[in-house]
């Protein structure tokens, strides 16, 4: 006669307790064996896996991302320095000779679209570059 139900058998195996075969009925023995085989199969690692170089690949990818972030920071800093340089040049020229300052400002204003296009193109390039790096699969 069956003495142990499925839940009890699973609980015993979960706790690493294997009941004595002598006290089990034939039906329980079969169930126990079936569960033991199932537990072994469930604990068997899959044959396929990640390549040996996986950790190195992740590290390389991460290094590339870090380098690109650093490049982005550097390029934005360069852009900031360029804009500050223009403002500083205008300020200094205005102090030394207001006429030269005005001339400089007029020159900048006449090339404003070219300058803005260059800046927008540069920022756009940086943005696309970052998006490509972060692109999900």
């Amino acid at each position: 006669m069956k003495e142990l139900d499925d839940d009890e058998l699973q609980e015993l195996l979960n706790n690493g307790l294997v009941p004595d075969n002598k006290i089990l009925s034939e039906e329980d023995k079969n169930d126990l064996l079936a569960y033991q085989n199932l537990f072994t199969a469930l604990g068997t690692e899959p044959k396929e896996g990640l390549p040996m170089s996986f950790a190195a690949n992740v590290r390389r990818k991460l290094q590339e991302q870090i380098n690109r972030k650093n490049d982005l920071r550097f390029n934005l800093l360069a852009l900031g320095i360029f804009a500050s340089g223009l403002a500083l040049a205008y300020g200094l020229l205005s102090i030394m000779s207001p006429e030269s300052g005005d001339m400089f400002l007029n020159a900048i204003i006449s090339f404003k679209w070219l300058l803005l296009t260059l800046v927008a193109g540069f920022v756009g390039y940086l943005f696309i570059d970052q998006r490509l790096v972060n692109r999900s699969y």
Binding site: D6, A41, G43, P46, F54
Partner: protein, 185 residues
């Protein structure tokens, strides 16, 4: 010996070699979770890479409230679930809510061959199960997490984790027994 605290602190100090050590330590754990949930063979490695990059980006948030492996498994699980949501069209049809009504298919020549290898056959049967069942079976048996840890990883209540485990194993056992009887006839 892998020292979690030391490795994490080295990674936070921008040591990529330490991160490589962490990847080596936990790549199996991540692969087991992704491998079980994602069917798309080609994307498995990419998703595992994505998991480790997320781990690197978020490691400063890890406060040792749980085991590092639990935190990593949670990221792997959520990444796999997000991937499945995004690629819903590629996944098999919806599963019934109650696994007791679930029918594991057979009559497939490929399955007939695989039946000879119990572990491979069990894996094939698990592939047909809803993802919550696949996850708890993998986390419990392959990754050796406790039911409480599986709750932390998946957000499924501990009682439900236990019930999923028992029902899934019972279903698998009955299916294998049925197949063995069929073979013996």
């Amino acid at each position: 010996m892998f020292n979690e605290h030391e490795v994490v602190s080295r990674i936070l100090n921008k040591d990529l070699r330490a991160f490589e050590l962490l990847v080596k330590q936990y790549e199996k754990l991540v692969f087991f979770v992704i491998n079980r949930l994602v069917q798309d063979q080609q994307n498995k490695e990419d998703i595992c890479q994505e998991v480790f990059i997320k781990i690197h980006q978020n490691l400063h948030r890890f406060e040792f409230q749980s085991k590092l492996s639990t935190w990593i498994a949670r990221i792997a699980y959520l990444t796999a679930v997000n991937y499945l949501k995004k690629n819903k069209n590629n996944s098999p049809a919806e599963y019934p809510e109650n696994i007791d009504n679930y029918h594991l298919t057979d009559e497939n020549p490929e399955q007939e061959l695989i039946k000879k290898n119990t572990a491979a056959y069990v894996n094939l049967l698990i592939e047909q199960m809803p993802h919550q069942y696949k996850t708890v079976l993998t986390l419990y048996h392959l990754n050796e997490f406790s039911c409480a840890e599986i709750e932390d990883i998946t957000g499924i209540p501990e009682g439900t984790v236990k019930s999923h485990l028992f029902r899934a194993r019972k279903l698998l056992k009955e299916k294998i027994e049925k197949d063995l009887k069929k073979e013996n006839i």
